[in-house]
């Protein structure tokens, strides 16, 4: 199976929001995704399913194919769902036959929910203070930071023990260094 991946990386600093450009079309779309309207999509691990703004769905003339009960902090409401194909322009990642829910979104056109995130591998790292988010589908490998961290800590402890457990040896080394300097 072909693998697809996309990565976003901040130019500098940490990203407060993981946001990518995405395009949406009714399922079975066979045209060029470049011809579709670009939407701002936020990657949201707090959303069980992918959602799009109801106004955008109307504008794109999507036809409802189902109904979902949506639970939010403000209560429960029934809302329409659409079967769509989603395209990320980054590296041409396509997610086909997705059911998205129409909701009122204030600060984004779309939320990429856990239904898409769990289709593959998803990682956020902050090396050198720059946020990098990477996603690939299908899943290829388990990523677990714990064994790497444990190994790192073990080596660190060993080094500290070596330093503190042999003060005489350390003193000898420093004396030798002083002698060399004098010469």
């Amino acid at each position: 199976m072909e693998q697809r991946a996309l990565t976003i990386r901040s130019k500098n600093g940490r990203l407060p929001v993981l946001q990518t450009k995405a395009c949406v079309a009714p399922i079975g779309f066979s045209g060029n995704p470049d011809s579709l309207q670009e939407l701002n999509a936020i990657w949201d691990t707090g959303a069980t399913n992918t959602a799009m703004d109801a106004g955008i769905a109307k504008k794109l003339k999507l036809i409802p194919t189902g109904v979902r009960q949506v639970h939010t902090a403000s209560g429960i409401l029934d809302t329409e769902t659409y079967l769509v194909d989603i395209f990320f322009k980054l590296n041409k990642v396509a997610i086909r036959n997705m059911e998205v829910t129409a909701v009122k979104l204030g600060n984004a056109d779309m939320l990429i929910g856990m239904d898409i995130i769990t289709m593959g591998d998803f990682a956020i790292t902050n090396a050198d203070g720059r946020t990098t988010m990477s996603f690939r589908t299908p899943s290829m490998k388990l990523i677990d930071f714990v064994p790497e961290s444990n190994l790192h800590n073990m080596k660190l402890t060993k080094r500290l023990r070596q330093k503190t457990s042999s003060p005489t040896k350390n003193a000898q080394v420093s004396r030798k260094k002083k002698k060399k300097k004098r010469k």
């Binding site: 707090g46 959602a51 194919t65 109904v67 949506v70 909701v103 939320l111």
Partner: protein, 81 residues
């Protein structure tokens, strides 16, 4: 929300336990408060609804036959809508 779809959904909710027992894991096409098609997945159900069942787009709903609430519920933990 579309009134007809709301009625179809209410019919689905009322009968979901029975649908789950009879067609567990399958996808149902519901129109006029009746299950008019049973398929393996949502894409097949949608295509069949239009091409085989000749239903008008927007006049039917596609729902998974499952008693698991996550099949018809969606939760937003992080964003207020």
């Amino acid at each position: 929300m579309n009134e007809q779809l709301q009625k179809e959904f209410e019919y689905f909710l009322k009968n979901r336990d029975e649908f789950s027992k009879k067609h567990k894991g399958k996808t149902l096409v519901i129109s006029n408060k009746e299950v008019v098609g049973i398929y393996d997945d949502k894409a097949s159900a949608y295509n069949a609804a239009l091409s085989i069942l000749k239903l008008k787009p927007g006049s039917f709903i596609i729902q998974e036959a499952s008693s698991d609430p996550s099949s018809y519920m969606q939760v937003f933990h992080s964003r207020v809508l």
